[in-house]
Structure formats: structure tokens, C-alpha cells
Symmetry: C2
Subunit: 214 residues, 2 copies
């Protein structure tokens, strides 16, 4: 496909932030928003906002601004979150259990439909917001992925297990990985991987704090 191959990566990343802000504005009942207002909320210039949105067509009206609700629909369509994405999660430790119970995913168009773990001691446990998920053994991964046509896999296992889990997921038919393990994954270049190493976020913060005047 590559519908938006010419769009800068940073623009795509900001799109998620615009969407989050727009949803807040919608909840407040706002009907339009200007590039200046959106920019202030995200700490980017108004010109940046206009350039970003202009990649996808003439979305605003001069003198008026951008219509909030139609723009939300447009951005969701671009990001692909105008539909529900089922996902599988591997790792039922502390982080995995928190992710399985996190309501924020469903609100944004993602649903964890199954959780797996290699530890027999946790297989069979109830998980999720209200215990609606049961931890399954790894052996059932391929069957669940195939029968549910699931493309997204979430890795929430300790670092040493991450590479092996990634390979098992790809073998099972998963196409893209969200990796919470603090380890790089060696996967074929065409497999999208987003890394969400929690400690790396903190390191970046530590750097910025160290740069401040004492």
C-alpha cells in the first residue's frame, strides 16, 4: 500500500498527538480549532500544524480553522484507527497484567483478545478489567492468531525472553510488534516494531534534568 510514503515520520508521530488533543476539544464541545491553538497545546508552531495536516488534503477553512469532528475522522482514517484492532499479549507478569486491564487501549481502538505465558504456574489465571481473559499456554498462540486474523503482538516479558517470543509471534502470523521488553529485537526489516522500553523514557528524562541549572 504505502499510501502515505511521502509523509515525514515526525508528522505521523504528531498526528497521534493532534488526535488526542482533538478528542479533548470534542469532549468540550468545540466545533473548530485553529492551527495556532492546536500548536500551542502541542508546543509546535502553527505553520507546522498546517504543513502536517496539508499532507492529507485541504482539511481546514481559511478564516475559520479546522472542523474538530471531521478532522478527528480524517486523522483516524490516516492512522488506521477507524476500526478495532485485535492484539495478543505475551507475558502475564506485573506489566502484562496491567496492560491487559488497561481501559485506554479499547478507548483508542485496540483490544487485547488473548494473553499468553510460558510459565505453567500462571496459565489459567484470570486477567483483564474484570477477569474476562484467561492466561493461555504459548502452544495455543498460532491457533488464536490465525483464527482471529490478529496482526498486532505485544511483548511484555523479561528482556532475555523477548527475542524468542518475537520469533514465536512472527511464526504464528503476527505482522507487527509492540515491545515493552528492554531489549532490541532482531526481526526481518519489513516487520514494524515499536519499542516502549519504560526505563529508556526515564533515561531521557534524567538527561534533561541533568542539563538544567541546579
Amino acid at each position: 500500500m504505502a499510501r502515505y510514503a511521502h509523509v515525514p515520520g515526525p508528522t505521523i508521530r504528531r498526528l497521534s498527538l493532534y488526535l488526542r488533543e482533538l478528542e479533548g476539544l470534542l469532549a468540550e464541545g468545540r466545533e473548530t480549532v485553529s492551527s495556532k491553538q492546536l500548536g500551542q497545546a502541542l508546543r509546535v508552531t502553527d505553520a507546522q500544524v498546517r504543513k502536517d495536516l496539508a499532507y492529507f488534503g485541504q482539511l481546514g477553512r481559511p478564516g475559520v480553522g479546522y472542523p474538530v469532528d471531521p478532522l478527528i475522522r480524517e486523522v483516524r482514517g490516516i492512522l488506521g484507527t477507524d476500526r478495532l484492532w485485535p492484539a495478543v499479549l505475551v507475558g502475564a507478569g506485573n506489566l502484562g497484567r496491567a496492560l491487559a486491564a488497561y481501559r485506554g487501549f479499547a478507548r483508542r481502538g485496540f483490544e487485547i483478545v488473548a494473553v499468553f505465558d510460558s510459565d505453567p504456574a500462571v496459565v489459567g489465571q484470570g486477567l483483564g478489567t474484570a477477569g474476562e481473559l484467561t492466561v493461555l499456554p504459548m502452544s495455543q498462540l498460532p491457533q488464536v492468531v490465525r483464527s482471529g486474523d490478529i496482526r498486532i503482538g505485544i511483548i511484555a516479558v523479561p528482556a532475555p525472553a523477548a527475542q524468542s517470543v518475537a520469533e514465536q509471534m512472527l511464526d504464528a502470523g503476527i505482522r507487527a510488534l509492540l515491545n515493552f521488553a528492554p531489549a532490541g529485537l532482531d526481526v526481518p526489516p519489513r516487520v514494524p516494531v515499536v519499542s516502549a522500553d519504560l526505563a529508556i523514557h526515564l533515561e531521557q528524562l534524567a538527561f534533561q534534568v541533568a542539563e538544567l541549572a541546579p
Copy 2:
């Protein structure tokens, strides 16, 4: 301070990834590594690795490569993770509890020393890897931050509460924020904020999956 004001932002972000990879190499007993090897692990060019590291001095040896252990020390010093950073966490929900128990933070130089929540029902609960933390009421935040000289605050509350929690943290003396809430924070420009919205990671993945051939 601004010791490294001239260093590109992307370089600083990659520094964390180099460090993670180097720690893996150290565990394997490797003594040196070339820019080519490091680059392959992170999917960047060897020239990029050399440029990144050269911002901080002559860290490698021609014909040999970079010495793993000294380079780790150097990068930790740059990022500021050569010491232990105490941090406070607000929000003892699913995510907050998982973060409080996450061992990965301590391994990378961060320690959650106190957890706060505004809900009286959870105040007093035991938390952490082994129940060593007790959830405190918000009223104790300023005293704990001041007496512990704590600079980093972690926000793990629902979106509507995030802005208010951020303000309470800054009032209490916190200097930098790691924000897990799916909401932007309106804080003074000099306050470093790193956002770790879990759903945004998934949106970025959804976009990449939608770009793949079906």
C-alpha cells in the same frame, strides 16, 4: 548547565539504545565493539554511530573499535544515569502498581521511593516488588519530595487528573515529569516532560501495519 546543548536530539535518544546494547555485550563478555556491529543491532549506519559517539570525545580506537566497559561508563555519565535517581509516583491503579513493582527501573538507575494516590481506599496499601512501599495520601507529597530532594515525578493517573497532578508535583518541588496519562500537560517550558502514552505507541504501530501490503 547545558553541557551538551549542541548535540542533536536524535543522538541523545540513540544513546539510550547504544547503552542497552552495550550492557548486553558486556554480559556476553565482549571487550570491544565496532561502529558497524553496534549499528547493525540498532539498524543505523556505522557512520551514524561514529558521529554520535564523536560528539562526546575520542571514545574509540582506530583499527580496534570501542571498548565496551569504558564506553558504558561514558554514556552513563552523559545521560546522567551514573547515579541513582529517586522518583515519586502518583497513581496506584493497575499501571501504577506495575510500575512500582518493575525491577527494570532499579537496574537502570531509578528508584521509586514513594507512591501517592488521592483515593482514600487505596492509601495504606502495600506496593512494590515485595510490598515495601505503602501508598501515601497526596497531602504528604511536598514533604517527601523536599526531604528526599526528589526531582523526577511519574504520573500514572487517568487523563482527567493528569494536569492537576502535574501541578501538585511541580508545587511540591518536582523538576521533571514522566507522564503515562493519555493527555498533554500544560507546564512551564523549562520543565522537562517525557510522554509515555501507551495507546499512542499502538497507534503508530497501526499506521505502519496499515501501510503494509495486505
